[in-house]
């Protein structure tokens, strides 16, 4: 008998091309917010300033990655009929954990984000990735996919928050920018803040512009 009748398939590299694509695709080509148009609600609500947006982004990354991991581990045991409810229970537990940790260690942020952390449960990206990927793929792959989607969402909301805070309040992360550059090009030079940017209308506009720019660059057309 030949020594190697069944050549064992080599284990896939931890960051093989396929796996790297899982993380990189949702960043631009398949971005959950700009291409799939999911998770818009919080993209408008929390992005008035960069600091709460950053906390929100970290919370979403944690919830999406962990829920993808847990559901993927359980995917063979979840009964088909209660599939959605089980996903919901896991996601709700994770979001509550995030909320409790925030309340204990970052009370000011907890007060500022108030209901929006709880609303991560309703963020379509979370359940979307569970249904589309985690239920049918191995845990490590699901983690990478979750990471990709959450990062894609995060950079978009941070970009929106960047413009909204800079143009709407003249600051970034609370540091006054407009005040420090006033007087730069002459004694009367000062920039006025744009109140529209602080309201959801401004968020819609910035988001629309980002979607336009991105789809032009990637050439994506809806069918």
């Amino acid at each position: 008998m030949s020594a190697e009748t069944l050549e064992k398939k080599p284990a896939e590299a931890l960051l093989s091309k396929r796996r790297r694509k899982l993380v990189s695709d949702p960043l631009i080509d398949d971005n959950p917010v700009t291409i799939q148009v999911l998770g818009i609600c919080s993209a408008l609500a929390v992005t008035t300033q960069m600091k709460p947006t950053l906390v929100m982004a970290i919370a979403v990354i944690f919830v999406v990655v962990m829920s993808n991991f847990v559901i993927s581990l359980m995917r063979t045991t979840i009964p088909g009929r209660v599939r959605i409810i089980v996903q919901l229970a896991v996601v709700a537990t994770l979001v509550t954990l995030v909320n409790e940790v925030l309340k204990a260690f970052a009370y000011d942020m907890y007060k500022e984000l108030s209901v929006f952390v709880g609303l991560i449960i309703t963020n379509c990206i979370v359940m979307g990735r569970l249904e589309a990927f985690a239920l049918g793929n191995k845990p490590y792959d699901s983690v990478l996919d979750g990471l990709g989607s959450a990062l894609g969402y995060s950079w978009i909301i941070l970009a929106v928050a960047f413009f909204r805070e800079l143009l709407g309040s003249g600051s970034l992360f609370g540091l006054p920018i407009y005040d420090s550059i006033s007087g730069l090009f002459g004694p009367d030079f000062s920039l006025a803040t744009n109140g529209l940017m602080v309201s959801p209308v401004g968020a819609f506009m910035i988001l629309g512009l980002i979607i336009w720019v991105q789809r032009t660059k990637t050439g994506y057309v809806e069918h």
């Binding site: 008035t48 979840i78 089980v86």
Partner: protein, 254 residues
């Protein structure tokens, strides 16, 4: 995969138990830290009525705790202005009084904490009297702390907070600019009646020559009405204590 009803039910029960344990375990572990965070936040709000918010923002938690210890002394009074030191056998301290739980009782049975702001080392020379206030906004509760100067008439400052008002509208009561509108206003009119200070409808008007009115919040009239009612109700409840302090300071001034 053949999945019988028994399997589904068993799975669901086990999942519920595991998730429930996880959540209650977290709550137990994080509970003390959360209580500390909330207590610190309350102290910040109390101090916020007498010190500018930027100063408090620059202080570290230990500094805030130390400042509070050395500058705030507190007592609890009942609706007739008399000091209360124990209730139903247990000692009562101002910091332990749960304003929200007290709000549910009728006004005559509530405990009313009073926080006195003084310089370090001289607790008799009170600079401000700070009273907690609590009420209903548009969607959920609102609360805060109002500071009166020693004449028991002029408002030194106010902090306001809310549980779920609309961001950009009712939630604006937390803005320093809105809270500063109350500074210098008086709560008693010339005839000695307690009229409190009312937030007017609409925004942008100047009320500097009216000592009992402040500019309102555009688009948040119901929250503003909630603030007005909250202020009026609690000032009326504290009125017995306020009058007693007024007369004792008048005697001291003689």
């Amino acid at each position: 995969m053949q999945q019988s009803n028994a399997y589904i039910i068993t799975f669901s029960v086990i999942l519920t138990v595991i998730l429930g344990l996880l959540l209650s375990g977290t709550s137990q572990v994080l509970g003390p830290m959360q209580k500390e965070a909330i207590a610190l936040d309350t102290k910040k709000q109390i101090l916020g009525a007498v010190i500018p918010l930027e100063e408090i923002g620059a202080m570290k938690p230990q500094e805030i705790n130390a400042y509070y210890e050395s500058h705030i002394s507190s007592i609890v009074v009942d609706i007739s202005g008399k000091e209360v030191t124990e209730q139903e056998g247990t000692a009562v301290t101002a910091e332990a009084v749960d304003i929200e739980k007290n709000y549910k009782r009728p006004a005559e049975e509530r405990l009313y904490p009073v926080f006195k702001y003084h310089d370090e080392g001289s607790p008799e020379k009170v600079k401000s009297y700070i009273f907690p206030i609590y009420g209903a906004g548009l969607w959920d509760s609102i609360w805060g702390y109002i500071a009166l100067d020693t004449d028991m008439n002029t408002i030194g400052g106010i902090t306001l907070a809310h549980a779920g008002e609309t961001p950009g509208l009712g939630a604006r009561i937390t803005e320093p600019e809105v809270q500063s509108r109350y500074e210098g206003k008086t709560i008693f009119n010339e005839s000695g009646e307690l009229v409190a200070v009312e937030m007017q409808k609409g925004e942008g008007k100047d009320y500097s020559d009216n000592p009992h009115q402040v500019d309102g919040l555009s688009g948040a009239t119901i929250t503003a009405k909630g603030v007005n009612n909250m202020l009026k109700n609690y000032l009326v409840n504290y009125q017995a204590y306020i009058e007693s302090q007024k007369s004792s300071s008048a005697v001291a001034a003689l």
